[in-house]
Amino acid sequence: MNPDASTIAAGAPIEVDISPIAEGQDVKVFWRGKPIYISHRTKKQIDEARAVNVASLPDPESDEARTKPGKEQWLVVIGICTHLGCIPIAHEGNYDGFFCPCHGSQYDSSGRIRQGPAPANLPVPPYQFVSDTKIQIG
């Protein structure tokens, strides 16, 4: 009952052109049926994410570890709440990040859980920069 060959093939990596995403904007693309948020973060959002005392977080992880060096304005996360799988809404909540409408989990501008029942941060999917304006997810 595990995924069949066609499902696995359809789950191959995808390339996304990120040049149209303005600062402060984000897009949602689907990969393997999951929504992936690609956020072009503002300076303020980056600073907020980096100013946090990592040890105080429920799921300690630094913003540096969740973004690519030199590309820290880009945040790529799987937009599935780690509580029970709803899709959090971007640019909502108290932490300039994501807010899950189902059970009230709030994530910060690095996609890290800050408040609510979710146990973990929004996962970062495997991705790399193919060029300055293009990323490959998967």
């Binding site: 009952m1 595990n2 995924p3 499902t7 393997r32 029970l84 799988g85 189902c102 029942p117």
Partner: protein, 687 residues
Amino acid sequence: MSGPSDYQPSNPALKWIERRLPIFGLMHSSFVAYPTPRNLNYWWTFGAILSFMLAIQIVTGVILAMHYTPYADLAFKSVELIVRDVNYGWLLRNMHAVGASMFFFAVYVHMFRGLYYGSYKEPREVLWILGVIIYLLMMATGFMGYVLPWGQMSFWGATVITNLFSAIPYVGESIVTLLWGGYSVGNPTLNRFFSLHYLLPFLIAGVVVLHVWALHVAGQNNPDGVEPKTEKDMVPFTPHATIKDFFGVSCFLLLCAWFIFYMPNYLGDADNYIPANPGVTPPHIVPEWYYLPFYAILRSIPNKLAGVVAMFGAIIVLVFLPWLDSAKTKSSKYRPLAKQFFWIFVVVCILLGYLGAQPPEGVYVIAARVLTVCYFGYFLIVLPLLARVERPRPVPNSISEAVLARSGKAVASIAVALVAAGALFAGTLQDARASEGSDAPPAQKWSFSGPFGKFDRGALQRGLKVYKEVCSNCHGLSYVAFRNLAEAGGPGYSAAQASAFASEYKIKDGPNDAGDMFERAGRPADYFPSPFPNEQAARAANGGAAPPDLSLITKARSYKRGFPWFVFDVFTQYQEQGPDYVDAVLQGYEDEPPHGVTIPEGSYYNKYFPGHAIKMPKPLSDGQVTYDDGSPATVAQYAKDVTTFLMWAAEPHMEARKQLGFQVFIFLIIFAGMMYFTKKKVWADAH
């Protein structure tokens, strides 16, 4: 009890079979000669009611499966086509959907009855555990069945529930992938759920056979909880229990018919009339009402794994009930303290159900935590403790002694209690529908409301005109075909008129022999063409918000009724939240938003739209559409007419449903009456 039968058929053919397979003897000893305690009350008819409901669910389900398409892109539409086009498809679908709720309602009564009268105690432990297994199978079946229509609540319910398994350490994620058959809930998930939803009821039927077998070995418990001693304590199953069960079933069917024919959507969720969309989470994800108490327990615990463990624990604890409650006295009738705690427990369960439908914030979370503690406390602390400290009242020496001592009890009070409890429990779901931040739409008078409601033909025809001239520029009506305009219970056009109406439309067809697509005039069998080729085009042309298809809009929109209105609605048959909302939104535009409210660029202020910022510009203005019949050309009239039309579009067979409902009610009332008097006659010498 049911030892070897001495039954001998007189018919030679039956005799021939009986010598080779003693099946008639088995039936005879199990359902005819089988001795049943003579003091059983009506709570004991729920066993028969449940067997009957299982049969109904299997029969309607098998027929529905013949018309259903388990494919993610087609499932939602195929369910709509069942309701619209299959002969009596609307009836089958309502029976199956309402039947599931009624099945759970009956099983809860059955379980509480077992709890109250101590039916799980020695020697009926295995009987009870088999019952818990049936209940677990029912929950799985019900959940997977709810996924099949592939609406928003189906999809997101499936996402939330399958994600519960991801809480299991180490293997959780692999289990979830195995359940999905992919990387998220999708077509493979739908396919396997359909397969399992078809399989599990037959497993349930198998376990029910074991359940009945165990029952017939241990014998039925009874309200006094004393084991039968002599012949005088018993009556034969047929005719006594049979006729009583017939009466019980027919009364229960009256309750079912009330929902099937008059409020089929009351127990469901309006969001499930929106096709599944993996990109949008509904603001409130609520399971079906019968899972709400467990959902409340799940959410009351802040830790994910602990929450899941508590939720499953709440059911598994029932397996250990026979050993947790070691009191010798079975029936709570003779246990003054246990009786009080039982009723407190019932209230705790109902309140948990209510909280399960509320948003998980503030006081609701705290209340749910307190009640979760109470729930487990009842099983793990109260029952074991009571068995040690309670001093039960003396039980009667025998069943016949108990029968003689008993004064008559009213049946009506039971029926009233049933309806009231059902209403209270079921209504919590309606309450969960949210449209926060907007005023409640004013209730309108609709010609189609109430048990004898009919569509106003004039309003339907005018509404069609408004749709065609105004709404259809942006909104599709893709489940309605031109032929429907000439069908009974619709706008009342002739087949020729519908055909002429269709021919005014250009329909894309093809490919032709040259391989090209071409346009031709519409035919009655064609569906209303949508204004945009796909959702993306609709989105791009309308500033990012795709205008929804209007075929189901009056069923897919609702607003919060709140306590206690949802309880009254069961009796008043108020079903018109959707039309009230649509009508209110069409008239709710205000040029200037109230002071302090800012509306984003490209949006408009609407008093009744959730959040107040609607992307649709004010669609209607006075005099915009010319009416031929002299009705006032005002926005209020337009809104009312087009809403009536859209209500018909959402449910073209509504008139047939209400008409048939009335006939069924007359039949059931007469049938139940006949059963009641037959039962009185049969039992005349047994009481």
